[in-house]
Amino acid sequence: EDQVTQSPEALRLQEGESSSLNCSYTVSGLRGLFWYRQDPGKGPEFLFTLYSAGEEKEKERLKATLTKKESFLHITAPKPEDSATYLCAVEGLGNEKLTFGTGTRLTIIP
């Protein structure tokens, strides 16, 4: 069974203070690893898909990286509007479902 563990559960940063969120996973053949952002009362908003170890993707202040066992979401010089819950999910080969972690609740303090 696919499993995803995210850490930390919550993270408070000062505006401009860079950090990283971790996503550890186990899956029997990785089809894709997904990062989503979720604001309160909203649905997950797609950020990135990573497919193979060594891959990196960037979008504004966010950069996602992937190894065979974990993924990191690096946030550089965050702003208050980056405050949200960041979700990691994996999809294994041969199935049609995403398995989500519990997320990291990120708060950026002005």
Partner: protein, 115 residues
């Protein structure tokens, strides 16, 4: 940018009643999904739907649940006899194609409250 839309945004129902949650996926997408999120918990997979049939379902998706694509645009989730533990946010999602080249796009959910 095209988006997945869900109605209603909030549904309150009494235990034992039937509810239908509605979704309009992105128009050219071919794969459709329902997920749910109980307050404070993970987003959980319920069911995937392709080519007018269920392609995969979870243990949560028992005989009380059903899905339908009644026309070319809507995708519905029916719960026949709601229980208190069905209270959750229900998210519809769609993707263009199956596999690793197409991410899932989620709607903003229907908050179901069973009293």
């Amino acid at each position: 940018e095209p988006e997945v839309t869900q109605t209603p945004s909030h549904q309150v129902t009494q235990m034992g009643q039937e509810v239908i949650l509605r979704c309009v996926p992105i128009s050219n997408h071919l794969y459709f999904y329902w997920y749910r999120q109980i307050l404070g918990q993970k987003v959980e997979f319920l069911v995937s739907f392709y080519n007018n049939e269920i392609s995969e379902k979870s243990e949560i998706f028992d005989d009380q649940f059903s899905v339908e694509r009644p026309d070319g645009s809507n995708f519905t989730l029916k719960i026949r006899s709601t229980k208190l533990e069905d209270s959750a946010m229900y998210f519809c999602a769609s993707r263009l194609i199956g596999g690793d080249k197409s991410p899932l796009h989620f709607g903003n959910g229907t908050r179901l409250t069973v009293t």
